[in-house]
Amino acid sequence: MRRIRLGSAAAAVCLALLLAACGGGDDALQGGTQPSDKSSVIVGSTNFPEQLILAQMYAAVLEKAGVNVTMRLNLGNREVVFPALEKGDIQLLPEYNGSVLSFLNPKATATTSEEVNTALAPLLQAKNLVALQQSPAEDKDGWAVTKETATKYNLQKIGDLKPVAGQLVVGGPPELKTRPAGLPGLKNVYGIPDFKEFKALDAGGPLTVSALKKGDIDVGRVFTTQGVIAAEGWVLLEEDKPLEPAQNVVPIGRTDAMTDQVKNALNALSGKITTEELTKLNAQVDVDKKDPEQVARDWLTQQGLI
């Protein structure tokens, strides 16, 4: 008898502890906004190092401005993360204007930064989202081949892939197969036929990098600001036909969370991010294996932003 009572007492204590931990406002469990007199923002990011750096930058300047910041980083690709933004699970995301535009409207044809931003604004507004000031920095999607492959098949521009695509294996994120600027884009704009094989890996991430290094793929989808391209001596194929729109880094957030305090802090930051700076920071994380948070904060301190 005594044992059973002991047992149920133990169980009751456990239950109480768990519930207390739950309701105790622990950041780890909360997903929604916390009502408070300070602004608070949940910063999210997708799953590659540049995103982590940018998100850490946003978080750092916001904290300096006195905003309450929660971070939910490395959540997956845009297909997963943008809906989270739409649902309110996160409230701020570092984005690229051209990619978001084609994500929201696959038929969009805008190419310059101004055109893209103009086309984007109403689409975002319809979802209670707003794009803040863009950065000069652009990170475009690119195609990389090893130096050996480039020499063997005489590849300098993307158009050069046309005659040899059938002999090459291409690798990239799974969504490359369906995104307009991905494989369909190569076909539509450059007339490049199907590749020999498409390997679904990741977006310029460790899988693609490793596969390209080892020769398991011949052409890899990379980002133009990645440090590993230079480090490995890869050839970034030139875009000789306009496939990709402008891709300025821009913070996109939920309208109700983008208070003046938040906007001012982020706009002050955005103007300073250039393509060269971003590429340098990426190299520190990609190649030197430094921590994104450290890299972000060091740079911000240098720039006098925190």
């Binding site: 044992r3 768990l18 739950c22 622990d26 997903g31």
Partner: protein, 225 residues
């Protein structure tokens, strides 16, 4: 330059400074892992209990319950979580619902086996002594079924600790977040920390539950290890 035997990364395996800098994150991940596991097992037990009782009361239900739960178990956990996302978003409930379903399967099985394993004589003796069905259940059958039920709780807990790492792929992964960070940054340290901690956590939980079981069933203590 890159073909040939596999190459090990230039990055050192464990960068202790990284661990030092990220103790907060590691602690948060650990806590989240514990909370997800605890809640999943708890909800699983709460839900399994009535199901088990139903299966005992109406034996014909048992085979279908077992079959259905058996099938659910073969659905890859990744798929289950992915399929829940459109409904529950990236909030904690997606992870909890999926995790609870898996604990449920293990627990129902063990609760039924445990309760069924109680000697007929004991049950009849209790009835003869005038115990009401409820009293019989709580004072006689459950305590005797405890070893098998606890075995189920142990398996469910260790399994859940492993599964929680998979839920990182939908944003609620506890220590699994360390795996994703290590993957994205192509950097072994968070990976090693994550693997070691989750293995230790599972091992510790198992030991703890063995202790709890021994505490709750001292009469079984002499029955060998």
């Amino acid at each position: 330059m890159t073909d040939g035997p596999p190459t090990v990364l230039a990055a050192e395996l464990i960068r202790w400074s990284w661990i030092g800098d990220h103790l907060d994150d590691i602690r948060d991940d650990l806590l989240q892992h514990l909370q997800l596991t605890g809640l999943a097992v708890l909800f699983g037990m709460l839900l399994a209990f009535p199901l088990a009782l139903a299966a005992i009361r109406w034996p014909r239900l048992y085979a279908p319950i077992l079959g259905f739960t058996g099938v659910l178990f073969t659905i890859p956990s990744l798929a289950l979580f992915i399929l829940l996302i459109p409904f529950t978003g990236l909030k904690i409930w997606t992870a909890l619902i999926g995790l609870t379903i898996y604990t449920l399967l293990i627990l129902v099985r063990n609760m039924v086996e445990g309760l069924r394993g109680v000697d007929r004589d004991v049950r009849e003796a209790a009835q003869a002594m005038g115990y009401t069905p409820a009293r019989q259940l709580f004072r006689v059958e459950l305590p005797l079924a405890l070893p098998v039920i606890m075995a189920g709780v142990r398996i469910a807990t260790v399994t859940t600790i492993g599964l929680v790492t998979v839920t990182a792929l939908i944003g609620w992964g506890g220590l699994g977040q360390l795996f994703l960070d290590g993957f994205t940054l192509n950097f072994p340290t968070p990976l090693i920390v994550g693997v070691v901690l989750s293995a230790l956590l599972a091992f510790a939980a198992d030991l703890l539950l063995v202790g709890v079981q021994r505490g709750l069933t001292p009469w079984a203590r002499d029955r060998g290890s």
